[in-house]
Symmetry: D2
């Protein structure tokens, strides 16, 4: 199992918010990689950022990735369309994808969804309760219901995404809003998990249960030893009844 944790890394580079280095001394990607390496000791966990060569998303890197984790927020438009297309092809060909929090507005997620991916939001550090609504789903295994996040940005409905395969989690916020916070999708041969908790302002990615969810997501989204590649266009000369 090879996991690539990709983070735009711009908040960290600019030290905005000021406390980001306090919570995430090795960046949000470093914190997520740390959560995963403790839970998936046999996995090979790598990290990459927008500042890396080829935006951290080179073809040979994606070729070696079973599950890609995506965190982005203020630099979505700096990921070139051709790079987005490259990653999308890998997802359609079977690479798992986990999109976190503000990644909902990334070019990649919007290209895979086909919708605006708009939502409501309010950054007031309020309590989020993440409730399990699909307790038999592998991503929910061992996760408390509710999972309590003391301080979080509110994401609220309506979240403009296509009908998901499964609604795994639904959150409520102190303000009363609700959000489908854990959603699965299949696109081509690829499995996609969107999980909304996590923000540059709060130490959500230091919380053990959050690590459990993301690790479950990695296990679920991995294609294992399935062959990679998109559905081909095929033009057989003969039908099966004629050819036999």
């Amino acid at each position: 199992m090879r996991v690539l944790v990709w983070n735009e890394g711009v908040h960290e580079a600019r030290q905005q918010p000021a406390n980001i280095g306090y919570y995430y001394p090795s960046g949000i990607h470093g914190a997520i990689a740390d959560l995963l390496s403790r839970r998936l000791p046999d996995a090979k966990i790598s990290t990459a950022t927008l500042a890396d060569d080829q935006f951290g998303l080179a073809e040979n890197s994606l070729d070696q990735t079973d599950v890609l984790i995506w965190w982005g927020h203020i630099a979505h438009e700096e990921v070139p369309h051709e790079v987005v297309h490259r990653v999308q092809e890998h997802v359609l060909g079977g690479m798992g994808l986990i999109v976190l929090h503000s990644g909902h507005h990334s070019r990649l997620f919007r290209a895979l969804m086909g919708t605006t991916c708009n939502l409501q939001w309010r950054n007031a550090g309020e309590r989020e309760l993440v409730w399990t609504v699909a307790p038999g789903h592998p991503i929910a295994r061992g996760i408390p219901s509710p999972l309590v996040i003391p301080h979080q940005e509110m994401y609220g409905e309506h979240f403009d995404v296509p009908r998901p395969d499964d609604v795994v989690f639904i959150s409520s916020f102190a303000g009363g809003e609700v959000f489908r916070s854990g959603l699965t999708f299949t696109r081509g041969n690829g499995r996609i998990f969107y999980f909304s908790p996590g923000d540059q302002d709060y130490p959500v990615y230091l919380q053990p249960e959050i690590g459990d969810v993301i690790a479950n997501g990695v296990l679920w989204a991995s294609p294992g030893d399935s062959p990679r590649g998109v559905t081909p266009v095929v033009n057989p000369n003969q039908g099966w009844f004629e050819s036999s």
Copy 2:
């Protein structure tokens, strides 16, 4: 459009809770019929209860019904299995069905779902906020988001039903719980809408927006002039390629 509002009517007969006659002088079924008759002036609205002949669910009555509305709570087990089976056949044959609140545990709903339909609950008169998560769905047309219910019984996840066709509404409660409060299902040729607001203790069925949701549900669930009947077992002697 012919709508039959069925209510077990046992709370009303026993005058339990004591204020049920205050809120619902003509019964919960009467209140719902009133909401509908104002919104669907061309519809023929009837009511029936468990105390009626054939439990209010005679074959010739169901034959004349486009959409059945179901409210039950403490007398689920008094509806005989053969009557449940009869109603189920009508739903599979195309009759629309709207199941309200504690009807989630009715024999009819459980037979159509195949699951326990269990959930969490707490009767503390707390505020429910009903958020729209499928704004393009006909049932959400004109409904405010959130729809605020000042005092309600809490219903919470996990709600053990099969994956719905659409999650139209999700509620949060003052206590922090969430619930998929508006769900659609298709079974056979029948459309089913489950809507959780409403209780014998609170005047939810006097609230105009609740009437709007139920009326939208009736319009959505109605089979119109589609022929009624379940999918038949057919045993053709010849395949299409041989027979032409």
Copy 3:
């Protein structure tokens, strides 16, 4: 109800295949408009092609359209991305969309699906049988099962689209292949119906049952008098519990 039948119109302009003018003297768009005007006498049916001003897809034209029908084949790449984006926004805002046959590879459909939309194909004029698998769906109303198309291009699985809302039709071909030939999707507030029968080589759009399916699709996809517009990004300062 205002329907816009859009056809790239390139086969007709080039008179390729040679018999296209025999089957479709007013173009494929003209034939489809003719089918619809007989079935939906109160609808306003317009046509447009790639050769028209603004590629036949001007903003004020889309503003006046309830349901857009899309036929394209050899000129997909000539529809500029900004025009595709404009149409996509209208679909997400509630405009119905019916994509026919080779439109599966259009930029518009691929943008809405997020997948390759690849499939198998063979142009051998073989018989297609279109079977209904969702008899209670409004699009299947009054359609024979199977609907027999004497000569058709084969489209076969795997068809790389996301899980549809409903599989309304599945076809078999004389060669033995199968294809999910009638699929519905929701994207944003818009309803999308993909229907595979129809080709520039065969008089499929002269067949009355095909007209019935497309007319049913138009009725189903129309937003009616629902307000148009995509889900907005909203940033409320206060939660509901604080604000009341």
Copy 4:
């Protein structure tokens, strides 16, 4: 992994059809167990029939089962309702279930689906082609598309089941009919796979690719080490916001 292959076993006991003992000397259950034991060497494979104590479905037997495989045809009504209910509870609590062929009309499958499960059929020994329509699904892993079954009973649409989670396979028959032949469902915490190939008249369960599909189904449906049990009814006295 503990697999229980249950077969009513009545065709075998009556030696109807006459050749059943030729194809299936140890019964259909024996043939399926043989297919599985070769593919899942670490699994514990057991068999049971209707003639066994407690109809082969004792509580302590189900307790020790991760995945139940069900084959029935002419004795559906001889499985008592209380036994059906017991098995259903185990499925809702997480036990995997694979229903084969004519098991579509079993009391168990109908109870879990809530529909008639009716379909078309014709026993003419015609060729079935099983096409993969969800190539990324674990059940499709390594399965040829099409999987060719030389002689089979035809099962055709409309198949009256609820919308499945995934349509993994669609079959065509020599006669031109189509059938959704591989379907997945989730009910409670249990995963269900319906797979239509297989009949008492034809040696389908001797075909290696059929064994591959069923073995994939077992691996997919198994709950692994997830805790077993249905969703409980819970009545918390306090909401989360009050209790903290």
